[in-house]
């Protein structure tokens, strides 16, 4: 019998959203959480805290592993475990913060803070902020908006916000359930946000520590259950999006890619609608030729300006598109039919137009601009972060590899401000994320492996998105990518924050493979 607010989930296996894998689960160890009824929201929130602790105790007592899961969008097994899944998507309270709940040392105003329960999805957060008067907004978003806040921050979900960064970069506090008898409010000592009254509201222990916060903020669910998240918001703003191209892949474009100085590109709209907010370069690598404008790059960029009325909200279109099973069929053909790889360039040329085409400028809020994902079916996506200085060289290497091993997809470069998260993959002060998206299958995976090997041979420093295809990650590579000191700092923080009996509960094969499961002081 489970407590009120915990439903047993009768699942023995689970397939991720993008259908890259099906994971076997231990029967009778998965549960779905919902907020039990109560007189006040505090009572309901605290009942859910107790339910998280009941689950940890239940897992320790019965010796199985648990993992909280958000929307299930990750492409890798980072978010699952060799035990049960905890579905948190129904935990979606959100609360404005008033002066009495704000630290007297907080650098901004209470209205800049917004407290969210872990399962609130980005779309929901955007909608609720837009409904305020005056309207508010999150600072940046991934390309789409169906992730839960806890899931999105735990893997370092990013967009292409060149001056803001990724989702973890506007998170300023975490309510972590770190044991059957322990839960904490964690924030940076250098950036306090919560008052003692807020910590009392949670009934949690206060921990103020920069290193521990920076570690926990991107920790893939391995620091316990994230129950609550404090984010910083800002006044609503408008983005003016331009989609242009093709542009010649020449020295002017390469210089912009290396420096984020866009003046030489003479981009339409510059200076009319505020500063550059978002910058992205896209390539059809099957139709690419340097210095040839007809076979060049496409750019997507957005300017940011204050919100103003009247504003007509953008709406999702309902164009005729490919069916849910198309990518699965393509994947099967490429894997099973000898010689079908020859079809890849023609197929990509056909589908690239569906994915991206130049369009007239459009204006919208973050909520309207970054909508539900248009990728459906069996999609492969890998993303590497590199220093922007290396971005043209990396593109040229990828184009060369594509000639030998055709990739059934496209390439986009998204520029993001670097993160402070210890293992945040957007770690370069000015990060370029190379995204390779296409139909899943052996050709795509061979291509990813070859690209990663080539970057290593050429000495180009890179990291891999935690939530996207990253099967070459291991202990050695993680240390090469982030450095021994950062990796040890992350492991130390996990050891200090998690109760010792709870550590095996939150250890999965993925973190073992990456050497992040170490228990300090353990006799091996």
């Amino acid at each position: 019998m489970t407590p009120l607010g915990i439903d047993p989930l009768p699942i023995n296996k689970w397939t991720n959203k993008h259908e890259n894998f099906t994971h076997n689960l231990v029967p009778n160890t998965s549960f779905k959480l919902w907020n039990p009824p109560g007189q006040k929201h505090r009572e309901r929130y605290m009942a859910t805290t107790k339910n998280f602790q009941w689950l940890i105790n239940h897992a320790i007592t019965n010796n199985f592993k648990l993992r909280a899961i958000g929307s299930g969008w990750s492409f890798t097994k980072i978010g699952v475990t060799e035990g049960g899944l905890i579905d948190t998507a129904g935990l979606n309270f959100s609360f404005p913060i008033t002066q009495n709940y704000t630290s007297p040392h907080y650098a901004k105003q209470p209205e800049d803070l917004y407290f969210l329960q872990c399962g609130a999805i980005i779309h929901e957060v955007n909608s609720r902020l837009s409904a305020k008067s005056p309207q508010r907004s999150i600072k940046s978003s991934g390309a789409s908006n169906g992730q839960t806040i806890a899931g999105a921050l735990s893997t370092g979900t990013h967009g292409a916000a060149i001056r803001v960064g990724a989702i973890p970069d506007f998170v300023v506090g975490l309510h972590l359930i770190t044991g059957a008898n322990k839960h904490i409010w964690l924030e940076r000592a250098s950036y306090p946000v919560a008052s003692q009254e807020f910590v009392h509201w949670l009934d949690a222990d206060l921990v103020q520590d920069d290193a521990q916060f920076n570690a926990a903020i991107v920790s893939f669910g391995s620091f316990g259950f994230i129950h609550g998240v404090m984010i910083e918001t800002e006044p609503q703003f408008l983005l003016t999006e331009h989609r242009e191209g093709p542009l010649a892949y020449d020295n002017t474009l390469k210089n912009a890619m290396k420096t984020m100085d866009f003046t030489g590109l003479n981009l339409p709209g510059t200076g009319l609608n505020g500063d550059m907010y978002h910058f992205e370069v896209l390539f059809n690598i099957h139709e690419f030729e340097p210095n040839n404008p007809a076979k060049g790059a496409f750019v997507k960029y957005m300017f940011k300006k204050p919100f103003q009325l009247p504003h007509v909200p953008l709406q999702r279109n309902n164009d005729f598109t490919y069916g849910d099973d198309l990518l699965g069929i393509i994947s099967t053909v490429l894997d099973k039919l000898p010689g079908s790889g020859l079809l890849i360039p023609a197929m990509v040329n056909l589908m690239f137009g569906l994915a991206f085409k130049p369009e007239p400028p459009r204006v919208g809020t973050i909520r309207e601009m970054f909508n539900y994902t248009k990728f459906r079916g069996k999609v492969a996506s890998a993303a590497m972060a590199i220093d922007i200085q290396d971005s043209p060289r990396a593109v040229e290497l990828i184009v060369e590899i594509n000639k030998q091993k055709p990739f059934p997809g496209g390439l986009s470069l998204r520029y993001v401000k670097g993160t402070r998260a210890t293992l945040g993959f957007t770690k370069f002060p000015n990060t370029c994320v190379l995204e390779m998206d296409g139909a899943d299958g052996q050709p795509a995976r061979d291509f990813f492996q070859t690209v990663w090997n080539k970057l290593e041979q050429e000495g180009i420093s890179y990291t891999l998105h935690w939530g996207k295809i990253n099967f070459n990650l291991n202990e050695v590579r993680v240390k090469q990518m982030y450095g021994n000191i950062s990796v040890q700092s992350w492991i130390d923080a996990r050891n200090e924050l998690l109760e010792r009996p709870a550590m095996p509960v939150f250890t999965n094969q993925f973190i073992e493979q990456c050497g992040l499961d170490k228990i300090n002081g353990a006799i091996v």
Binding site: P10, I11, W14, D87, F95, P96, I121, E124, G323, K336
Partner: protein
């Protein structure tokens, strides 16, 4: 490659594609749902017999007994009904006496009509 091997491979591929390929209709009020994606218990086989004279409801209603994966809000976000090539052939062979479809659904998320404060 010998011709019979080519034919065998082609047949094998057609069989695999037949399993994968299907026609689906998606009805959507919102793409967002109250759960992780692809919950196994929210994908149900739907059988109807004798040209629809006998059929069973797919239940997401939390008030119906024996429902493994209820919609706690009593509301759906989206529904997909799929007919595979096998389903189509099965209906054709049985002259519509037995019919199979696969139904998948997402439940509506808990609503927060007015924003709560920490004090209420």
């Amino acid at each position: 490659m010998k011709p019979y091997k080519m034919v065998f491979r082609a047949l094998f591929l057609v069989m695999i594609l037949a399993q994968n390929a299907c026609v689906s209709t998606r009805v959507e009020a919102s793409p967002y749902q109250d759960s992780v994606e692809n919950l196994e218990c929210r994908k149900e086989s739907s059988w109807s017999y004798f040209w629809g004279l006998k059929q069973k409801r797919i239940d997401a209603n939390p008030e119906v007994a024996g429902n493994d994966c209820p919609c706690r809000e009593g509301a759906l976000s989206w529904v997909v009904v799929k007919t595979s090539i096998t389903d189509f052939l099965f209906s054709a062979v049985t002259l519509g006496i037995a019919n199979h479809r696969t139904v998948t659904y997402g439940c509506a998320r808990p609503q927060q009509p007015t924003e709560p404060s920490l004090d209420n």
